[in-house]
């Protein structure tokens, strides 16, 4: 059983782990309050304008949607088992994401900040290494490259 924030979970019950449209970072943060949580940690993975010395125009993310969704849910469930979290949500973009836009967001909240930081890092690390989501970088010189490493 997931120990979690039932009221917040209700509010974000419809949150898709994979989103083809822009992530509502500010809206998700605004909703991320829980009366028992003293610490909220938000991670936003954003598109950088350079990578490995190359100027980046934009990225495109591809996912196996059903498996990525299921795996992110499972990672969040594992985090809820490991730490007493009031809130734990994550969402990843697909499609074209431009420089400065958010490609992935993780929000965790707990009574004390150590757990919120640890769970947040755990969730993003596992999403990046395990979820079937890939990025293709489109560079300013017209070339492109499918990513095979984490860049943030």
């Amino acid at each position: 059983m997931i120990r979690s924030a039932y009221s917040h979970q209700a509010a974000v019950a419809e949150l898709s782990e994979i989103s083809a449209g822009p992530l509502d970072v500010v809206g998700l943060l605004a909703a991320a309050h829980h009366p028992k949580a003293g610490a909220v940690v938000l991670f936003s993975g954003e598109v950088r304008n350079h990578n490995e010395g190359m100027a980046v125009d934009y990225l495109e993310y591809e996912a196996h949607e059903s498996m990525a969704t299921k795996m992110i849910k499972a990672i969040i469930a594992d985090a809820n088992q490991k730490w007493p979290l009031n809130i734990a949500v994550a969402q990843h973009r697909t499609g074209k994401v431009t420089v400065g836009e958010t490609a992935v967001i993780v929000i965790t909240a707990s009574a004390h900040r150590g757990e919120a930081y640890a769970a947040n890092q755990y969730i993003i690390d596992r999403i990046k290494h395990e979820a079937p989501i890939w990025k293709c970088e489109y560079f300013s010189d017209g070339t492109k490259k499918w990513g095979s490493n984490c860049h943030c």
Partner: protein, 77 residues
């Protein structure tokens, strides 16, 4: 059987294609694809395979009605 490939694999194969029924497990699928396109051999060694939304091992048996997804290493974020 139907094969779906993702990300960089689309530079080596069509995104989706059919294969004959003589392939009986993941290991033989991997060999077969390496023969179809020798330059994909390296990346295929690193791929994960999934059937019905579950990852499967190399000895997993596949049949003609299966859809097999092939995933290069992930790089979300």
């Amino acid at each position: 059987m139907k094969i779906q490939v993702f990300a960089v694999l689309k530079e080596y194969f069509d995104k989706e294609f059919e294969l004959g029924d003589d392939i009986t497990d993941i290991a033989s699928l991997q060999s077969h694809l390496s023969c179809l396109n020798a330059s994909a051999q390296g990346i295929l060694q690193l791929c994960r395979f999934a059937v019905h939304d579950e990852f499967v091992d190399h000895d997993f048996t596949i049949t003609k009605n299966d859809t097999i997804c092939i995933f290069p290493p992930s790089s979300g974020g």
